[in-house]
């Protein structure tokens, strides 16, 4: 490629040197990425944090209509023993047009009586009110997030407000001995 204007040089020849440049550059890029990854990955949840990933709870003492909060993966999980009225209301709303994230009540529980949801608002992560006596429960009698005004119903579904999704149902298992294993 001595003279760019000469016709002999067109199309440009791929030389051994070009190959060396490209392969060196690619090796450098891959090498940098490999070297940087441990630094980024070190910020991910560590083994001890991930190890705390199951929680077992005894459900016997919970009365109908009562709600308790347990901790799973350092986040609150709401467990409610629902009354028949609450279940009926949740089911009646299955086809309601104001469901933002449509889901039937049946798809969100393993047993009608027990509602188990992660108590973290799907908007920006606040803990919704409704667990304590006298708390505001929102217009649908479920939970109300005080941060930005999201209302959840008795199935933990988002009905009004900025939250995009229903309260998350964690993986859990209702056991025969009256306990629940979350995680």
């Amino acid at each position: 490629m001595s003279d760019a204007n000469s016709d002999d040089d067109w199309p440009p020849q791929i030389e051994r040197r070009d190959f060396l440049f490209v392969s060196t550059g690619m090796m450098a890029a891959v090498g940098t990425a490999v070297a940087v990854w441990p630094f980024i990955d070190a910020m991910n949840p560590s083994a001890d944090v991930q190890a705390l990933a199951t929680t077992e709870v005894d459900l016997e003492p919970i009365a109908a209509g009562q709600r308790i909060t347990v901790i799973w993966r350092s986040q609150p999980v709401f467990i409610e023993r629902r009354t028949p009225e609450q279940v009926a209301q949740a089911k009646a709303d299955d086809d309601s047009p104001d469901l933002i994230d449509p889901a039937t009540d049946a798809s969100r529980v393993k047993s009608e009586e027990w509602l188990v949801v992660v108590g973290v608002c799907t908007h920006l992560g606040c803990v919704p009110l409704g667990q304590r006596e006298g708390d505001e429960r929102g217009e649908w009698g479920g939970w109300f997030c005080p941060c930005h005004g999201s209302h959840y119903d008795t199935s933990g579904r988002i009905r009004r407000g900025p939250a995009p999704r229903n309260l998350v149902v964690p993986p859990y298992e209702l056991r025969d001995d009256g306990t629940v294993l979350i995680g």
Binding site: P45, L129, P146
Partner: protein, 437 residues
């Protein structure tokens, strides 16, 4: 500065001075940058906030280093270690209150500095990079302030961190992994606190680095001034020292006096009482409100309550909030006017002040609950915010008829002093003699 390329007049007198000057001319750089450096003669007090900001960066770093000697970044000890600083450490209360209120005053100064830039068109060619470097400093300041606010590990610290990192979950698929990467867990906790402390210590030094680039860019293009006319001759300028130095110093003293009043008499006025409650991951405070300097952006975040096509309200709010900051970066290309300063742009001047009022109003809305009439007002106010940048700036530059520009800074200054009947004859004489030379 094109016509007035500044040539160093530094002449070391001592033997040591000459020895250093021949090897590493740092004293020469300082002399040329902060003593002999020519600045426009008509700079007003709006131009003193750059100096004030650099002093506040130093205050924050010095108090921060002392605080870090006593603070413990551990979720079980952080809150108590801050109280330990307040009660047991010698002058600890002073270090903490200076640091805490210093952040507020840092932001107060940076907002006045940014508004000054918007008013006088400081971002226009050839100062686009200077402006963008300033925007980067502002972004770094926001990140630093946010992480610093988490360190005392009070209720607002914890839930502020939860809400802000929750922004990332708005992005589909990658959102949750990114949030877990940032937090080092499934929720805000000990790993989060530790890394925020590490980064809170790092970022101010990155700010200092960008400040050096910012000042470098400033000294290449020279300062703007209230007329927006470039410096054309030596009579348009005065040496940085003593003129700008003494003006900056006086403004700094006034600003520090106000700062001291807050530090000594109302140190918690700008904070939230809830942050004196230790962080509780199971209970969210009834009202999560960010610090005042984030309130306008918080209002914009909450103003988007509707889905736009596939974009959920949550993602839309996050995008709008980030856009509200990022739009500043492209201001040099949004403003189409050939005239730099609002002094000669009657319509832009009006639009600017409406923008200022609207920004304050947005901030107030951000402090109110997100319901009822406040939501509609926040939507209107958000529309005005973006309208100023995306519609008013480009359109006004094309349709507005600017006032007549003076021929030079000197002419503008003399015209004004003639009009007010005041002015100083010495100045006029000095100008005349300087003109002759």
């Amino acid at each position: 500065m094109s016509k007035l390329e500044h040539h160093g007049t530094y002449t070391p007198t001592s033997g040591v001075g000459k020895w250093i000057d021949a090897r590493m001319p740092l004293p020469r750089l300082m002399y040329d940058s902060f003593v002999a450096y020519p600045v426009p003669r008509n700079l007003n007090y709006a131009y003193t906030f750059g100096g004030i900001l650099s002093i506040f960066l130093v205050i924050q770093i010095v108090t921060g280093i002392v605080l870090a000697m006593h603070y413990v970044p551990d979720a079980t000890k952080a809150f108590d270690s801050v109280e330990h600083i307040m009660r047991d450490v010698n002058s600890g209360w002073l270090m903490r209150y200076m640091h805490q209120n210093g952040a507020h005053f840092f932001f107060l100064a940076v907002y006045l500095h940014i508004f000054r830039g918007l008013y006088y068109g400081s971002y226009k060619a050839p100062r686009e990079l200077l402006w963008i470097l300033g925007c980067i400093i502002y972004l770094l300041m926001m990140a630093t302030a946010f992480m610093g606010y988490v360190l005392p590990w009070g209720q607002m610290s914890f839930w502020g961190a939860t809400v802000i990192t929750g922004f990332f979950t708005a992005f589909p698929v990658i959102g949750v992994p990114i949030q877990e990467l940032l937090l080092g867990g499934f929720a805000v906790g000990d790993p989060t606190l530790n890394r925020f402390f590490s980064l809170h210590y790092l970022l101010p030094f990155m700010i200092a680095g960008v400040v050096i680039l910012h000042v470098w860019a400033l000294h290449v293009t020279g300062q703007t001034n209230p007329t927006g006319i470039e410096v054309k001759s030596k009579t348009d300028t005065v040496p940085f020292t003593p003129y700008a130095t003494i003006k900056d110093a006086f403004a700094l003293i006034l600003f520090l006096a106000l700062y001291a009043y807050f530090v000594f008499y109302m140190p918690n006025f700008l904070g939230h009482a809830d942050n004196y409650i230790p962080a509780d991951p199971m209970v969210t405070p009834a009202h999560i409100v960010p610090e005042w300097y984030f309130l306008p952006f918080y209002a914009i975040l909450r103003a988007i309550t509707f889905d736009i096509g596939p974009i959920t309200a949550k993602l839309g709010g996050v995008i709008a909030m980030f856009s509200a900051v990022l739009v500043l970066f492209v201001v040099p290309w949004l403003d189409t006017s050939k005239v730099r300063s609002a002094v000669y742009r009657p319509w832009y001047k009006l639009a600017f002040w409406l923008f200022v009022i609207n920004s304050v109003f947005l901030g107030w809305l951000g402090s109110q609950p997100a319901e009822g009439v406040y939501v509609a007002l926040a939507q209107l106010s958000t529309a005005i915010y973006f309208g100023f940048f995306l519609i008013v700036m480009p359109v006004l530059g094309l349709v507005e008829k600017p006032r007549r520009l003076p021929n030079s800074i000197t002419e503008a200054v003399l015209e004004r002093s003639a009009k007010t009947g005041g002015g100083s004859p010495q100045l006029g004489d000095a100008t005349a003699s300087a003109d002759k030379s």
